[in-house]
Symmetry: C2
Subunit: 692 residues, 2 copies
């Protein structure tokens, strides 16, 4: 189940039978904005120059976040919580940059982040014909798939040779279209500024996905080339003023994955199998992390980033589950589904061409749902494992895959991706033995709890020992903690990996023995059926609803739009914006107790700060995980804020858009400048952002 | 699955094939101490007067803890964590006795605890013959069971009429014996003293079930009769000195439940179904409680006792699961099992009489394991529900059961128990709306996560709403929060309950509709098979190993014995005792940070305290949950400490005794006196305990 590319009812379409109007819905491809709708509804003309400028100014931050260039000298803005892993890796027992923040007033104080990759989208090419053309009449399904893979490999290879850019083929609309995205990758990235965690994550886990908010969830990095700040022609200028209620704004970033096309049966799988399993794993680890953190100040520091990640995931998945348990969600889904089914069934040609994809998905789920837990655990999908395990698995798979022709490899091991994989094997960041022991014990316990003590995978994984003993045995016998050993195995390739007696390599191999067949089974019996069925559903939707549709999110650059807008909750209006003064008030209400503790720097600066400056605001822009760090842009293409969250009502956006109460949450650009000036005295940065 | 009464290899027996000697194993009935073994091994003569005196001095604290009289004026000692619910109920936003502690220097400052019950065991009668005699030849199994129930009801009734004591029939050795326990119940209990939580639970969750420890886990209450301190002829005197390593000590209390007779298949059910389910529920609630507590100071206070309960349970169950995942545990169990199987099979008479109870248990598990989650959830076994739900369920069942003859009721609703149930309906303690909302939301989410959104119970429970909405709807519509409404329904009985439109009553009735059939199915297909099979296994064990056996724990008074003893861990000796000075050192190591924060009173008193006084110590006494608060007694029957925990290696004692590393953990009686004197200035109490 790699990230699929799906299709959803468009922003403009009104589903007659379900009677849902979804005003600002849509995560639009940079080359396919709904121009007419924008013109008609907002009187806005999205000309191509405007779109291209913004596209070039935006970045993918690693594999799972968004960012943008905000100065001609490579200055990058993202969220504190997007940069937090990098910031945590730079920290040590003397410097806790995550907790205490950091500001490099001069270039030479900027701190180099190891293993970082920022992706700038240079060009998009439509390669649909080439890939579709590879599949010839008379080929079997398997032969077609192999031919398409070969074409993809060839396209990537020649694009790389031609442009020296990083190629990624993006499957859109369930395989109805393929685009080639060409990225420039920045690998020399340096840490410039972050506020204290106390204000970046003010209100902590309990405020996360909440609103009203008072968070300075922002951090700055800088791209370097040849050891000098990168010269970036395209960057976003800072807006002089700010936004007001009902203003049109755009959010441009990398939403990771939506599942809005999912059938009701597929949502049932999510609700009854996947989400409960993921939540059980998250709950278990969160409880372990709490205990771990209480053991010492050092433990608190080294586990903070992981804990926040787990809490964030737990809250997000729980929100989706809650949405799915609402009878209305399924009712709406079924209404839409039945409308489309009727459309297919009323015409014999459609029926014979598309069959009953809903039933196919339903049947495939019934056939495979029992094996999902084992598959998730063995393939380590959304299940946390120690860093050394992740490295061991990459080394093992790389050794195997490199033996094959490019086109036959698992896609993530094609030549185009090898540099990234190598970097992630070498630059792991610090590895903390105590934390790894806890994580591996937790992982082994999780397997036993989910599969039972007699399951073959569990017996093999535990090897007769208790989880904690087994974890200690494996961690005692691994040298993957040393960079030199990782390099040796990487360079040594297949033979080195085959001959390694490293206990983590052996353990990862052991699990591989179960993971591979399970992956194959899931690919054959579920993913292939699913992909095929959703392609047919996508075709049917396209036939019925026409051009004005957007593909489900795929972790690639998308444009969303909407307006800054208050909403009603429990018969009260939640105002569209908060103020800096409101943050101080809330801290006082909580006696400045954790997690409502304002940092010293803010308490000291209170008199200097203008309490009426807007702090956070909400909009109807259609966002999702992965959008974190996306710049918020006005009609003039200027920065008016940065997305950092959605409210609790927006969690369901993974599977269904609504805009009655659901909102994206932004940091106001004015609060960023106000605090940079008056809390952090970051004058050089302010000057770089807004001039004098 | 009410608490079963099982049988285990005795302390003296050596299982030849498995070659396990279990030195100090045993939770002995007060009228069946292993006299010979005590004499032979420890040169100790447990004469009946000694035993009777101790029995009369000991108490069951509510349904799940232990305590003892420690003065002639009804003064009672137990653990802080045993008394914590009562202490929390006395607290409010002005007085947080749980956190801050309390000392009533005079009688009139002693605070009355509502709804409390202390059980003092006055007499034991062997009623085996009467109950066995009720079952006549020719009766079917069901008729036999009904006849035995009628006999039990009759025995209880006439005992209550005769003595005015509270009767409980205890099923021992899988039904091979029945004893009638007659209790005096103290219902006027007042709170006298507790230290701050910071020292009672020093080290918090991470130290719980750990050793070395530095905890003053002790609290004092007082029994009253006719508004005056109860005159207690039997009470335990304080030892002048203390214990040394290798001293023989006794622990006398109420171990709640062991499962040492369980077959390997039954342990598999525990490992693969029950424990993972319980742990998932605990993990989910613990995470919710953390979020809840962060919301405000008031939330922190009202949820502390629940959080500690959940954490304690989570750690205990996790410890048992870890033990079960150790291949040696199952290996040992199978060795013992095979030895007994061979003994049965080698003789045709034995074989025809006892059959193959191991297979019967195995088959019953296969037949019923799928239904356990629904049964656990609907019957609310180990699953937390709001107080009002508990009350609603009691009211509904009481109304139904009172309609039946005594002998036909669920045993907990027989006349002998009605007063207790009524008290628990009326005296609920404070009910906090926010906490109930969280708990009910959590409960509804748990059902959906465990059973899936389409399960009939989940559909009925949620009624189309999201968990949080549904919880709010139910809680808005209930008046069970008012004592007067609870009294009205209690007095109104069946008609009042039937006519009630209270939303919680309706919700509880809805769940009852599912719970009753599930309970019946589990009783018919699992519990009856299990009870019958274990009776046969018990008989076989008795035939093979003879008299020197003790029954599995049943929540009734038991004597354990052992010696104060250090142990080896990771090639180091863990000394048998810690000192008060060691506690200060540990706090300093952690910079007095939570959970290693010593209370102000201790920091102030450091100079006055004798740092060398022993604080906590460990022994080989065989204890388990429910033993908390048990007095530790020397040969002279004097107090030398109080049990408050077992170390992590002792968690497996639920199912298997070992004494290589496993230890019970005690507060030393000398640390209690030292701190009462020099930290709390509790001179009147010290005088009452030890004289001048």
């Amino acid at each position: 189940m790699r990230i699929r590319c799906l299709l959803m009812l468009s922003a403009i379409m009104i589903s007659t039978s379900a009677a849902i109007t979804v005003g600002d819905e849509g995560m639009w491809l940079p080359n396919r904005l709904p121009e007419e709708h924008l013109k008609k509804t907002y009187g806005f003309d999205a000309d191509q120059a405007w779109v291209d400028h913004i596209r070039k100014s935006c970045l993918r931050f690693g594999r799972g976040g968004s960012a943008s260039f905000v100065s001609p000298d490579g200055l990058i803005m993202t969220n504190h919580h997007v940069g937090s892993s990098a910031i945590a890796k730079l920290s040590d027992s003397e410097h806790d940059y995550l907790k205490d923040g950091y500001y490099a007033a001069t270039r030479d104080a900027e701190l180099k982040c190891e293993g970082m990759e920022l992706f700038s989208l240079v060009e998009i090419r439509d390669v649909t014909e080439k890939i579709h053309g590879a599949s010839k009449p008379g080929m079997s399904t398997a032969e077609s798939a192999a031919a398409r893979d070969a074409a993809k490999s060839e396209i990537e290879k020649s694009a790389k040779d031609e442009t020296d850019l990083h190629p990624e083929i993006v499957t859109l609309y369930g395989g109805r279209q393929y685009h080639l995205y060409l990225y420039k990758i920045y690998t020399d990235v340096r840490f410039v500024f972050a506020p204290e965690q106390g204000i970046a994550f003010f209100g902590g886990d309990i405020s996360n996905f909440g609103y009203p908010r008072f968070n300075l969830d922002v951090a700055f990095f800088r791209a370097y080339e040849d050891d000098k700040p990168a010269k970036t022609d395209s960057y976003l200028k800072w807006c002089d003023g700010g936004v007001s209620e009902n203003d049109l704004v755009f959010v441009v970033g990398h939403p990771y994955r939506t599942q809005r096309i999912n059938t009701a049966a597929h949502l049932g799988l999510l609700r009854d199998v996947e989400l409960p399993m993921i939540l059980a794993a998250y709950n278990q680890l969160e409880v372990e992390l709490f205990q771990f953190q209480d053991e010492s100040e050092e433990h608190r520091r080294i586990a903070t980033d992981m804990l926040h990640g787990v809490q964030n995931g737990r809250k997000a998945f729980k929100g989706i589950l809650e949405g799915l348990l609402d009878a209305n969600t399924m009712k709406q889904k079924l209404a839409i589904e039945n409308e489309l089914k009727a459309f297919v069934n009323e015409d014999p040609t459609r029926k014979s061409e598309w069959g009953d994809p809903w039933k196919d998905i339903h049947d495939a789920i019934r056939k495979t749902e029992e094996v999902f837990p084992a598959y998730y655990l063995a393939e380590n999908r959304r299940m946390r494992m120690p860093t050394q395990f992740r490295v061991a698995k990459l080394l093992i798979r790389m050794a195997e895959e490199l033996d094959k022709p490019d086109a036959e490899r698992l896609s993530e091991y094609r030549d185009a991706n090898l540099e990234s994989i190598k970097r992630s094997i070498i630059a792991t960041g610090p590895i903390y033995p105590d934390l790894e022991q806890m994580v591996l014990t937790d992982a082994l316990t999780r397997m036993a709890r989910m599969l039972g003590g007699d399951h073959a995978i569990v017996r093999a994984a535990l090897n007769g020992q208790r989880p904690a003993e087994r974890a200690a045995t494996i961690l005692r016998g691994t040298k993957l903690t040393d960079q030199s050993e990782r390099e040796r195995l990487l360079e040594g390739g297949k033979d080195a990996v085959a001959n390694s007696k490293d206990s983590m390599i052996l353990f990862a191999k052991l699990l591989e023995g179960y993971a591979r067949p399970l992956r194959k089974q899931i690919e054959d019996e579920w993913e292939s059926v699913e992909a095929d069925a959703y392609t047919r559903i996508a075709k049917a939707m396209y036939a019925k609803y026409g051009e004005s549709v957007y593909p489900d999110a795929t972790g690639t650059l998308r444009f969303s739009f909407g307006t800054v807008k208050s909403y009603e909750e429990q018969n009260k209006t939640v105002p569209h914006t908060t103020t800096i003064g409101g943050g101080f008030e809330l801290a006082r209400e909580h006696k400045n107790a954790d997690p409502f503790t304002l940092p010293e720097s803010w308490l000291k600066a209170e008199k200097k700060l203008n309490a009426t400056v807007p702090f956070n605001y909400v909009s109807t822009c259609d966002i999702i995980g992965g959008n974190s760090g996306s710049p918020t842009i006005n009609r003039n293409g200027e920065i008016v804020g940065i997305i950092f969250d959605g409210n609790i009502q927006a969690l369901i956006w993974d599977i269904q858009f609504t805009q009655e109460q659901a909102r994206g949450v932004h940091v106001d650009s004015r609060a960023i400048i106000e605090s940079l000036k008056n809390v952090y005295g970051a004058d050089a940065m302010v000057k770089e952002l807004i001039g004098n």
